[in-house]
Amino acid sequence: MTETYIARSTAIAARMLGGEMMVMSAVDSTFFTLNEVATAIWQAADGRTPLSEIVVRDICNKFDVALEVAQRDAEQFVHELAQHGILLLSDHPFESAPVEAA
């Protein structure tokens, strides 16, 4: 199975507000708010940890959700953010240091 690695784009603005992460793309000004689970994935997007490991470590161990559901939702979430240039996806670990999570 091919692993997915996720890294935060440099072309975004982000800030925590009341427990949710606000994220705006500088490319197309798309504005997102991430819920607690999505924020956990965002904060773990260091470019080096496989998404499958993030799901187990930061989602299943902390939230009441089945692995299969969490994995499917996480895949959908990262691909949606990638379409807006907010997350970068790769099947290899990223080499450069990650952008701060805010």
Partner: protein, 362 residues
């Protein structure tokens, strides 16, 4: 309610300074005839001080950061400041005259993920624009800057201040914006100078001209809707807040002074003496600003325009009382709708001394 409005509402409820306007310098390479600033350097914050302020703003929850001046690029460390701001993941908007922006600067702004750049253009004719900026060749340089920024894919807005010196020029500037593929905004607001000099208020366009602007469909869109009589004010309006100044927005000068807004020179604290969060949470001045509700305004609460007026508490403050009238906004409401404001009917005139930005007492 849009997602952004929801975030604004949440920031209001949580007391978060979501948007901050930071003037990094008052120095400028132009000498615009309508400018309210005094351009000498009286001890700007150092690079380290500004970086520390940015760290504090990020910790306080600020998301939208406007970097302005003066001319931001008069600071040799501007890109170092910008880089730090972007490392902290602010959504950054830059206000500039663009004169010092060439290909390299535009490239750097794009690389750093700047959200938007606003450039002031007063006319598409150099003899008018350059006469306002008092810098020969400035129109050419500013337009070139817009092209450089656009070529990098950056979002650009042309800000067109309207005054007697460029009356009738807005159509040309609007067409220039369309040709360049950038946004356009028009502002007929001229404020007193920072040193209390009100002579530049003579540059404000006349009532007739203001009325023409408000009834120009190319500027306001749907004239009928824009100029409609104000709706009756309900409890929600009377209990509402005047604007975001001091609630979710703040202004910081190059000297570290904190105010509710760039147009609201109420001294609220200084970052060389206090942490931003302490000023934001504890400043009596900001608490005073936050206590204002439309229903508490002695005259404006009885005005038919109360629900749709652009009343600026900062301009009201400069006229003598933050709870008093903002004559310029009374006139805007009148010339937009043809209905006199309550203040106009009472023939209210400012009585207090003009209050301007003053150093805080040590």
């Amino acid at each position: 309610m849009s997602l952004l409005q929801e975030m604004n509402q949440r920031a209001l409820e949580l007391g978060v300074p979501l948007g901050v306007h930071l003037d990094v310098t008052y120095r400028c390479n132009e000498r615009c005839i309508h400018c309210y600033l005094e351009h000498d350097d009286h001890g700007e914050m150092s690079t380290a001080e500004i970086k520390d302020v940015l760290d504090q703003l990020a910790a306080a929850g600020t998301f939208f950061l406007t970097l302005s001046g003066g001319e931001v690029l008069m600071r040799r460390d501007f890109f170092e400041i910008l880089e730090h701001a972007r490392r902290l993941l602010f959504n950054v908007k830059i206000k500039t005259n663009g004169v010092m922006i060439r290909r390299q600067e535009a490239l750097r702004m794009r690389e750093l993920g700047v959200e938007q750049v606003q450039i002031s253009i007063y006319s598409c004719r150099p003899e008018i624009h350059d006469a306002i900026t008092k810098l020969p060749g400035s129109l050419k340089r500013s337009v070139e800057a817009i092209r450089f920024l656009k070529s990098q894919g950056l979002k650009v807005t042309i800000a067109n201040v309207l005054m007697t010196a460029n009356l009738g020029e807005h159509a040309g500037v609007q067409a220039l914006a369309a040709e360049l593929g950038v946004s356009y905004s028009l502002d007929p607001t001229i404020t007193p100078k920072i040193d209390g000099d009100t002579s530049i208020l003579g540059l404000r366009i006349s009532a007739t001209e203001l009325s023409e602007v408000f009834h120009n469909k190319n500027l306001v869109g749907n004239v009928e809707e824009f100029c409609a009589p104000p709706p009756p004010a309900g409890e929600d309006i009377l209990g509402g807040l005047p604007c975001s100044a001091g609630h979710t927005a703040a202004y910081i000068t190059p000297y570290g002074d904190v105010f509710p807004c760039v147009q609201f020179p109420l001294p609220s604290g200084n970052l060389r003496r206090q942490k931003f969060i302490d000023i934001w949470r504890d400043s009596p001045a900001l608490h005073d600003v936050r206590s204002i509700r439309a229903k508490d305004l002695p005259v404006c609460s009885t005005c038919s325009h109360v629900g749709s007026c652009t009343r600026c508490p900062g301009l009201a403050y400069m006229e003598g009382s933050m709870r008093g009238p903002s004559t310029a906004d009374c006139e805007k409401s009148f010339h937009r709708t043809g209905i006199p404001s309550a203040n106009m009917l009472q023939k209210t005139r400012p009585t207090g001394p003009l209050i301007q930005i003053q150093p805080l007492a040590v």
